[in-house]
Amino acid sequence: MRGLFKRFKEGLKRQTPTFQKAFDGIFSGAKLDSDALEELEEALYTADFGAETVQEIIEEIQAAYKADKSMRGEDAARIGARVLEQVLEGAEGRVTVGQHQPEVICLVGVNGSGKTTTSAKLANLYQNDGYKVLLGACDTFRAAANEQIQHWANRLSIDIVSSQHGADSAAVAFDAYEAAKSRGRDIVILDTAGRLHTKSNLMKELEKLHRVIQKQEPSAPHHSWLVVDGSLGSNSIEQARMFHKSFPLTGLIVTKLDGTSRGGAIVGIYRELKLPIYFVGLGEQPDDLQPFSAANYARAIFGITDETA
């Protein structure tokens, strides 16, 4: 896949402090006592994995240490990566678009998570793959939301359907779908307004949008992806839970992994909701989007560079 995975890894590696250093410190000591275990736990906590995953990794490392007291930090990191990869088994989302005409992708999520930017990135990706894409600007609420997505549409030469500020977002979704159909577009990507999962009126609006799309085409939306900000902590799990209730999700996209955050909350989400992760966002540019690879993610986080892990 054109070295995408490599870039993904580099993207994560560039900024992400790995566990290696902490682990080396821990395993240079004479024994894995309770202090060392606590340090291990704390190091693992920095990735926002959540208690359960941290506990599993610790147990595996402890067991391995019992069997072989000469274990090094590097070995522990390998175990961590392996456990994480196991936890994420099945989490790699892969799509083959073009099954429907048009295929509807819907992006939802809390405020500022990266939905609009990701819409542009996806549009770019599919357009480069030869699909005809149309953007639906369903955020009619935030100041200059229209201008923002319009800018992307212009820059990437992508067809767009939008409305004025304050218009009914479901109506825009409707129009976008109709336009995509009549203009023979393959994919329509709907960018929705950011909303906190605790706002019942805004969640209702999303439910309505879903109903409207379904009325037009019962199989749509074909992909409903929650855009998760990778720098957020455990609240992302609650977000996923609530969005999933109002707007049945088919997967996740995690953004801003070019920073120092490790986006571990997706692990918690996956454990609970089993929603696959389709893409990771690694920057603000259109091609800063990579398919998610559990193995690369796990290795990047634990700082494992060779391929033999």
Partner: protein
């Protein structure tokens, strides 16, 4: 129901009643619970560790009080300590005119929105004449966004879509603000990673050029463990004078606030509580402390109730109750008021010991059912419930898709409520009545009692 911290600590401290004093030994288990609670709230592990150590020092040697449970006693100590930590420093901005404020932070944290909010807030509370200056030259339509907000506030605005040099924009913005006779100049900057060398240089340069009096770090309350590094690096780069915590209208526990405060010692000055321009306030450390400890945010809950429940309407209701002529129509309105506050789940999440409780659906269904029953009545029936007999009952049951006995149950509940109101007739103030009524209504609508309301 999820156990709250007080309960957990109560258990962890169950054996210390007889011992008289809090000691390192009898506190061990309890402190583990505290640490766990902090970590679950996304407090950075180092900060959590330090905090627990401090609390331990505070606790050890204290007499075990007779008047409260050891759990409550320790929670109080922790809570107070948290409030102290979170609240250190002032929430006041420099008292200057003109006042220059520069906003910085990660992508999407809420800088631009908060710029608009701050302009409104300071214009209203401190009589400033604000100007907004758009120093984000990267994000598509960032300038338009700020311009919209400025229009909305009716305040001065400066931006230049053809200029990529942020320092130049800043300087010209200063001039433009002066021209416009503004005495509060807020510089909105682009979102950036704290480790992005070039962009960090950019805000350092901008700072040098515009000499801001305040540099506010805008941060999402739901940030994870990296919050410490975000605060640390931004502070090292530009010496922040305050933090604005955004998106507190969500249900994030907000441990990031403690992490950022502890690592940088920069005071948290404001909080964003919604997308709208007036959903903004000075920071309340006590509420944040309760939230982090998972004790719920009672104050916010009460305020939310006050916000959504129209004051005049409440008075009118209270008056009706005083006269005990509260009918089903009023009952319906009350219920709809409560609904306006948000889903029951989200209301519950703000209550002590209730965060994470799955109250949502069945309770909400019950309430919806009660509503449906009343909606199936004619206005006349709502006003005079004693009309409700025989065929009318059947009609209403059919209309709302329930059994006659459900309608009867509701009427019985309502009858009790009226009786109570009669008893209270001539009672004290309206607010009290509202409380009682809401508690009562809770039973009727399947709404659990709302403590503290």
């Amino acid at each position: 129901m999820l156990e709250n911290l007080t309960d957990k600590l109560g258990k962890a401290l169950r054996n210390i009643r007889g011992t008289g004093k809090l000691t390192e030994e009898n506190m061990t288990e309890a402190l583990k619970e505290v640490r766990q609670a902090l970590l679950a709230a996304d407090v950075h592990f180092k900060v959590a560790r330090q905090f627990v150590t401090d609390v331990k020092e505070q606790c050890v040697g204290q007499e075990v009080l007779k008047s409260v449970t050891p759990g409550q006693q320790v929670v109080k100590i922790i809570h107070d300590e948290l409030v102290k930590l979170l609240g250190e420093g002032t929430t006041e901005l420099e008292d200057k005119k003109p006042l220059r404020i520069m906003m910085v932070g990660l992508h999407g944290s809420g800088k631009t929105t908060s710029s608009g909010k701050l302009a409104r807030y300071l214009a209203k509370k401190r009589d400033y004449r604000p100007a907004l200056v758009a120093c984000d030259v990267y994000r598509p339509a960032a300038i338009d966004q700020l311009e919209r907000l400025a229009e909305n506030e009716g305040c001065a605005f400066y931006g230049d879509r053809n200029e990529k040099n942020v320092v130049k924009i800043g300087q010209r913005g200063l001039d433009a603000a002066k021209q416009a006779d503004a005495n509060l100049i807020i510089f909105d900057t682009a979102g950036r990673l704290q480790i992005d060398g070039d962009l960090i240089e950019e805000i350092k340069d901008l700072k040098k050029a515009i000499q801001p009096d305040e540099i506010l770090l805008v941060a999402d309350a739901a940030l994870g463990q990296e919050a410490v590094n975000v605060a640390k690096h931004f502070h090292e780069a530009v010496q922040c004078t305050g933090i604005i915590l955004t998106k507190l209208d969500g249900d994030a526990r907000g441990g990031a606030a403690l992490s950022m405060k502890s690592i940088s010692n920069v005071p948290i000055k404001f909080m964003g509580t919604g997308e709208k321009p007036d959903e903004f306030d000075v920071f309340h450390p006590d509420r944040m402390a309760s939230r982090i400890l998972g004790m719920g945010d009672v104050v916010s809950l009460v305020e939310k109730a006050q916000d959504t429940i129209d004051e005049k309407e409440a008075e009118r209701m209270a008056e009706k109750m005083r006269k005990a002529d509260f009918n089903l129509e009023d009952f319906l309105q009350q219920m709809q008021q409560v609904k306006k506050m948000g889903s029951l789940g989200s209301i519950m999440g703000m209550m002590p010991g209730m965060s994470g409780v799955e109250i949502g659906e069945s309770e909400e269904k019950k309430m919806a059912r009660t509503e449906a029953i009343i909606l199936s009545m004619t206005p006349q029936e709502r006003q005079t419930p004693r009309l409700l007999r025989g065929s009318r009952l059947k009609r209403i049951a059919n209309g709302s898709g329930v059994q006659v006995r459900d309608v009867n149950a509701l009427l019985k509940q309502f009858g009790q409520m009226q009786k109570m109101m009669k008893m209270m007739r001539g009672g004290k103030k309206g607010k009290k009545m509202m409380q009682a009524m809401q508690a009562q209504m809770g039973d009727g609508g399947g709404l659990p009692k709302l403590p503290g309301m």
